[in-house]
């Protein structure tokens, strides 16, 4: 028996780590991974709530989040590759022109 709040706090920690990563990391890919971490944190809370409310819908939402994450990863990484081709750097602090 584990209180639901533990799961939620774990999910919150993961999310917070993701946000922090987004804020402090400089590598574009790492930043992108931080986003994935945030999504994972959210997924955990979805599953936890699904267990609490005995509603499978929560798990369904996880699938949708995963699909969106996959799509996002595909497009995002393609963008990263395109950015790298033109700017030859992955440092976000140097990618600040809002255009390629």
């Amino acid at each position: 028996m584990v209180p639901l709040s533990y799961y939620l706090i774990l999910s919150g920690i993961l999310f917070a780590c993701g946000v922090t990563g987004f804020l402090i990391k400089r590598n574009l890919i790492t930043i992108f991974m931080s986003i994935e971490l945030m999504l994972n944190g959210v997924n955990l809370s979805f599953v936890a709530f699904a267990a609490q409310w005995h509603a499978l819908s929560g798990q369904i939402f996880v699938f949708f989040v995963m699909v969106v994450a996959a799509a996002e990863a595909a497009v995002g990484l393609a963008i990263i590759i395109a950015v790298y081709r033109t700017r030859e750097t992955l440092n976000v602090d140097q990618i600040n022109l809002l255009k390629l």
């Binding site: 946000v19 976000v92 809002l98």
Partner: protein, 679 residues
């Protein structure tokens, strides 16, 4: 059992045609474009015929509700179609004549640019016109009403590279707006006082009301409706756009500005007969406007030299007749004239188009003449039309015009007198046109040198467009509709023999007769005498009226014949006379020639002050001084604020993320605070 008619298909078919041509037509061949246009308008006609075949098994009025549209409390407007005898006749006229003119247009427009555009607009027009006549409420009718205005604008300005065409289109649009304004206010009044715009509901609500108690309201609504009708149907004082509308291609003039759209006003007034029956003053206004328009337009028509302008003024004049009919309560006579007019005026325009086509784009009658032998088909069809409009029995125009005049005479002999005189004028200017165009010597200069070549073209040159030398008959594609319409112009009036037409329409205007009989007599007499139920009490007056009617008929036929004789005398036997007469009349002649300077008066009295006011107060004062100044000021302020704020926009993604995180934190703190606060 009432079969499902699928009325919605009828307007939607031309719309589909318009959509296909509009989206794909640019890259399609002319054959494909014309096939699409003809198939869809033909299908609409076929549907209409099918509806006729089903008509006897219908319980009328047949109402087909497609979808709810506006639901606001008790007020409710649906997308619904309404079919009764009146809309059936309109449906047949619009789809039938429309289809014929589509066929004609394929031949007429073949050489023109923007072929697909033309048919897109034409089909679009059909869609809106059919919506207008099949609508089951005033709002849907108003959609069609505005839509035909749009189509009309687009088609008048079809040759938009020509400045005159573009401004004619604008003129038509703007003048129509004035009428629509009246129409809209009438609708608002209806909504306010009766809470509905459906014909059926309105009839139900209005029928028990007594004229004494609501006369003012009904008069107001009636006159406002008449303003709308005057705009659309080119009545005084809003008729000025129609002659200019002749800038459009001739089939357009035939379809929109003669046969169908301009008659929408008559249709609308007839459709509103419940209201007009209770507004005698409004009826009088309608009748007077109709009479005046008929007369003045006819006088202008006498002096015109442009073949299409003559027909345009003739249209205005004939529309005046229809309004006269409606104004004296003879709605079915008005509709009857509407139908026959659609036949012969459509025919006349198409024939005029054929003439123009034949002489290579020339529209001035003075440069024609002697065309009788060169374009015999056109000549004979045009002849049928001319005789029909002149009211020579037994052609179509005779029956309908005579019916209107007879009904008018029962209200006031003044209407009748002016009407007969107008009939004389009509006959005169139509035969004048006929003689100038087809008799005498050919006066076109441009083609004289090509005369011998022109004959060569005659034998095989059907597919030659205008602008080519030589007078030549139009292709069969154009002549076919001419012949059909000519036959209709000859026999179309026979349906009115023995009041059959009126009896057919009687159920529509029936409520008029029974209700107004006890409260109001004058405009109701006509329908009363024709409706079968009330035949027996009125049979006595019928008996005595028979002789009078014959006398009046004789007089109006006489007027027509007189017109013919005068034209024959002036333009066939002694062609030099008209110039002398014109010289003698001097100023008056020029006044008429310049259309009584109405355009100029409008320009001076309305347009110029309006422009002056707009530019001085609205433009410089309000727009520049207040609106623009406010806008510029706020833009300036925004720029200054942005200048200071843009340092936040460093372009650094992580800074943005920082702002987002800080904002999210603020929201969380706020929510937590709220949550704690509520505990």
């Amino acid at each position: 059992m009432t079969p499902n008619l699928h009325l919605w298909l009828i307007p939607l078919l031309p719309l589909a045609g318009a959509a296909i041509n509009g989206f794909l037509g640019k890259r399609s061949s002319r054959q494909a474009v014309s096939t699409v246009a003809l198939v869809f308008s033909g299908a609409a006609f076929a549907m209409a015929l099918w509806v006729v075949s089903q008509f006897s098994s219908l319980t009328l009025p047949y109402i087909e509700t497609l979808a709810p549209w506006i639901r606001a409390g008790a007020f409710q407007v649906d997308f619904a179609f309404y079919l009764d005898q009146l809309s059936l006749i309109m449906l047949l006229v619009v789809t039938g004549v429309g289809f014929l003119i589509h066929i004609y247009s394929v031949g007429y427009m073949w050489e023109e640019g923007g072929f697909y555009r033309f048919f897109t607009y034409l089909n679009l027009f059909m869609f809106f016109m059919l919506t207008l006549i099949l609508a089951s409420n005033y709002l849907l009718m108003f959609i069609g009403w505005e839509g035909v205005g749009l189509a009309s604008y687009l088609l008048i300005g079809f040759y938009f590279l020509r400045d005159s065409a573009a401004s004619a289109g604008k003129k038509a649009f703007i003048v129509n707006r004035i009428g629509d304004f009246g129409f809209l206010i009438a609708l608002f009044l209806l909504i306010k006082h009766f809470g509905s715009l459906n014909y059926a509901e309105l009839a139900h609500v209005i029928s028990p009301l007594h004229i004494e108690t609501h006369a003012g309201l009904f008069t107001a609504i009636g006159i406002l409706l008449m303003v709308g009708a005057a705009g659309k149907s080119a009545q005084i004082p809003l008729y000025v756009w129609l002659p200019d509308a002749m800038e459009g291609p001739t089939p357009v003039s035939a379809l929109i500005h003669a046969a169908t759209m301009v008659t929408a006003g008559v249709y609308m007034v007839s459709r509103s007969h419940v209201i007009f029956d209770r507004a005698p003053s409004a009826m009088t206004v309608v009748a007077i406007i109709g009479t005046l328009t008929a007369f003045f337009a006819a006088t202008i028509g006498i002096t015109q030299t442009d073949i299409k302008k003559v027909l345009a003024y003739s249209t205005v004049s004939q529309l005046g007749y229809m309004f006269l009919g409606c104004g004296v309560g003879a709605f079915s006579a008005g509709i009857f004239h509407l139908m026959t007019h659609a036949f012969f005026k459509g025919l006349l325009f198409l024939a005029a188009g054929s003439v123009i086509h034949a002489v290579g784009g020339e529209q001035d009658m003075r440069k024609m003449g002697g065309l009788r032998t060169k374009i015999p088909w056109t000549f004979w069809t045009m002849t049928a039309g001319t005789f029909a409009i002149a009211g020579i029995p037994p052609l179509a125009g005779f029956f309908s015009k005579d019916e209107i005049l007879w009904q008018a005479s029962r209200v006031s002999l003044i209407y009748w007198g002016v009407g007969v005189f107008t009939a004389f004028l009509t006959s005169f200017y139509m035969f004048r046109q006929w003689f100038i165009t087809f008799f005498g010597e050919y006066r076109g200069e441009a083609h004289d040198s090509h005369e011998h070549g022109g004959h060569g073209h005659d034998s095989h040159g059907d597919d030659h467009g205008h602008g080519h030398g030589g007078v030549h008959e139009s292709p069969a594609l154009m002549l076919g509709p001419l012949v059909v319409l000519a036959i209709l112009s000859v026999v179309g009036g026979w349906v009115g023999i023995g009041n059959r037409f009126e009896n057919f329409l009687a159920p529509v205007f029936h409520s008029t007769a029974t209700i107004s009989a006890d409260s109001f007599d004058a405009p109701a007499v006509s329908t009363e005498s024709t409706s079968p139920e009330s035949l027996s009490p009125a049979s006595k007056s019928e008996e005595s009226g028979k002789n009078t009617e014959l006398l009046f008929t004789a007089i109006s036929v006489g007027a027509g014949v007189l017109g013919f004789l005068l034209a024959w005398q002036l333009y066939y036997r002694r062609p030099e006379l008209p110039t002398e007469i014109a010289a003698k009349l001097g100023g008056f002649y020029y006044t008429v020639l310049n259309k009584y300077y109405v355009d100029e008066i409008y320009a001076a009295v309305i347009v110029k002050p309006l422009i002056a006011f707009s530019s001085a107060v609205l433009w410089q004062g309000i727009d520049r001084g207040i609106i623009d100044a406010t806008l510029d000021g706020s833009a300036e302020g925004a720029r200054e604020v942005s200048d200071s704020m843009r340092h936040m926009q460093s372009g650094n993604i992580r800074s943005y993320a920082g702002w987002v995180a800080a904002g999210a934190a603020c929201i969380i703190v706020f929510m937590a605070w709220m949550a704690v606060g509520t505990r």
